[in-house]
């Protein structure tokens, strides 16, 4: 895409960059992967975003994936060795192997009000480095702005700030493109997530 040259393109920490998103049915896990893919596409990257198609019901653990690369993506397999993990529901931390296969220099974003120590993920934080981990109260930030605790859009803003793989501009374009110009509240959510990491820094 010509967009690639024109834009202030964020860099990929590695190429291809693999993201795995964990959450529960109803939290917008699949939509988060779709939006992340759309934003990365706007930033000029090749993208493949897809859900894992498990039990399609509220509350059930759900996983979705996103590959971002500079070259066309041919591989079709689930992401087993992610470079970044997004966890939209911290109650999954000790039920599902959410960190399985995470790269040693990978990124971790968790939606929670608690600290890494309280969440019991200090070992992961120590492994990937504190500047690669962000714990953001995405659900609370969303609830305060829209009344809905769905954390996905806030988490994406935070993800952009944490990893630098997608630009805030592209994320904003993505949510407007996906939900329509009538839903300007989504811009607030993206920025809230982005600012939560950009201002405070990582965990």
């Amino acid at each position: 895409m010509s967009d690639h040259e024109q834009r202030n393109v964020p860099g990929l920490p590695c190429d291809p960059f693999h993201v795995r998103i964990h959450g529960r049915g109803g939290q917008g896990v699949v939509t988060a992967a779709e939006l992340l893919g759309l934003a990365a596409f706007f930033d000029g990257f090749e993208v493949q975003a897809f859900p894992s198609f498990g039990s399609e019901r509220m509350g059930a653990p759900v996983v979705a994936f996103c590959r971002i690369a500079s070259e066309p993506i041919r591989v079709r397999e689930p992401v087993t060795h992610p470079d970044a993990i997004v966890i939209l529901d911290a109650t999954l931390l000790h039920h599902v192997d959410v960190f399985g296969g995470l790269a040693d220099d990978g990124f971790v974003l968790v939606n929670s009000l608690h600290s890494a120590a309280d969440l019991g993920i200090d070992t992961v934080t120590d492994r990937v480095g504190r500047d690669h981990v962000a714990i953001v109260p995405a659900g609370e930030l969303a609830r305060a702005r829209t009344g809905s605790p769905r954390p996905n859009v806030v988490a994406l803003g935070a993800f952009g700030a944490l990893t630098g793989t997608v630009s805030l501009d592209a994320l904003e374009r993505a949510v407007l493109g996906r939900f329509g110009p009538d839903r300007q509240d989504n811009l607030l959510l993206v920025r809230a997530g982005f600012d939560a990491v950009a201002a405070v820094g990582s965990a």
């Binding site: 993208v47 591989v75 397999e77 599902v96």
Partner: protein, 413 residues
């Protein structure tokens, strides 16, 4: 202009540009997004005079498509899995009557045990119903195959099935280029039916034929279906010249290799990635057309191969597997060794790691005649052991689930 789209949405928008006149629809996972999107477009008045008909079953969907096609309307529907089986009788009718219906099959396993995930059991079970079968390797193929399917169906008056791997392609979001209305119009002019129900010129479509002529009708139908191979090549060339995306019955093979893996559908991307790391030792032959089987092209592409490995996303219990049988027939009289590898059943991912191991096994000369990729021998062994111990061992599916997912633990996926 490339757009970031879900496979299903891209297919639906492309089908809309193919100007269907009747779309009878019945939902089934993982196909539903396609007809849902077409339904929305019809409601918004974006499909012109197209009639979107919500019917009561897949049997009704195909029957309505047959009726509409016989009345001279360009007809389209989509289904998957059990829905395709429920259509089975009508599938044979559409082909036997020579009606150019086009249908997307979002490939999915067939129960029991019930399973909503992807493999090719559904379409392969209907390989003998007389339809053309085209398989998409990726979502760009899935998009481009639809205008070609309509054009091919109407050119030779035979129904065409476009097989797209359920979930893996239908639910994946990727950058895709949709053909413009003008690109499609160039390959797909208005529908000129070879036969049509018209009160002013009455004909019988669906006459009863006894032993005196049934064989000849069938002989001619086979001949007509085989015409899909050259017709597709010609249509795909014209379409490719406009769009820059050239499709063929078999994907361009890599330079002659001693070991060639034959496959169809979405596994091709992963397979090509793994094979490209072998420095030409392993080639890949991707089938786009499966019915009619492009035997000449397959034979030509495999002429230098000593070992042909066929990846099967379905199999024929008690015998072998469908693609292997066709490849074997195409290679009759040659010295090539043929191995069958059944993989990716019921949504099990076919990974680079598994394919890499497979090629290493083949390279050591240790690949047998039939292999089930990634088979969990431990789980199989435990059930076989149980069956030796007591006569009433209970349902196998439930037994295996208990072995695979210990009580109280959810699946990671």
């Amino acid at each position: 202009m490339r757009e970031q789209l879900e496979g299903s949405q891209a297919i639906a928008r492309t089908v809309a540009r193919c100007r269907p006149e009747v779309v009878p629809a019945y939902p089934i996972t993982p196909q539903t997004h396609i007809v849902e999107a077409l339904g929305k477009m019809a409601k918004a008045g974006e499909l012109g005079r197209c009639q979107f008909v919500t019917v009561e079953s897949e049997f009704a969907a195909m029957s309505a498509a047959i009726g509409a096609s016989a009345a001279g309307a360009r007809s389209y529907t989509a289904t998957a899995s059990q829905g395709l089986l429920y259509m089975a009788e009508a599938l044979f009718n559409a082909a036997g009557l020579g009606l150019p219906v086009v249908m997307t099959v979002a490939n999915r396993a067939i129960g029991a045990p019930i399973n909503i995930w992807n493999d090719h059991s559904d379409a392969m079970s209907q390989r003998d119903c007389g339809w053309v079968q085209l398989y998409a390797a990726d979502n760009q193929d899935a998009v481009d195959l639809h205008p070609l399917a309509f054009a091919l169906a109407e050119r030779i008056s035979v129904p065409v099935m476009v097989c797209v791997d359920g979930f893996v392609l239908t639910h994946a979001f990727e950058p895709l280029e949709l053909p413009s209305a003008a690109d499609i119009e160039a390959v797909l002019p208005g529908y000129e039916p070879r036969q049509v129900l018209d009160p002013d010129e009455p004909v019988t479509i669906g006459a009863m034929v006894g032993p005196e002529a049934f064989t000849e009708v069938r002989f001619l139908a086979d001949r007509q279906l085989r015409g899909a191979d050259p017709a597709f090549a010609e249509l795909a060339r014209g379409y490719g010249e406009r769009t820059g995306r050239l499709l063929a019955a078999v994907r361009p093979p890599v330079p002659a290799a001693h070991t060639v893996v034959v496959a169809l559908g979405s596994v091709l991307g992963t397979l090509e990635e793994v094979a490209s790391a072998t420095d030409g030792a392993v080639g890949v032959l991707g089938l786009v057309m499966y019915r009619p089987f492009p035997a000449d092209a397959v034979r030509a592409a495999l002429r230098d191969a000593d070992h042909v490995i066929v990846l099967e996303r379905a199999f024929s219990p008690g015998a072998s597997a469908p693609v292997t049988a066709d490849v074997r027939a195409a290679l009759a009289g040659t010295q090539a060794r043929i191995s069958t590898v059944v993989c990716g059943l019921g949504g099990r991912p076919v990974t680079r790691a598994a394919l890499h191991d497979l090629l290493a096994t083949a390279d050591r000369g240790e690949l047998g005649e039939v292999t089930f990729l990634d088979l969990n021998d431990d789980v199989v062994g435990r059930e076989l052991y149980r069956q030796q111990q007591a006569p009433r061992t209970g349902p196998t599916a439930a037994n295996l689930l208990r072995d695979v997912v210990p009580a109280g633990r959810g699946s990671v996926r």
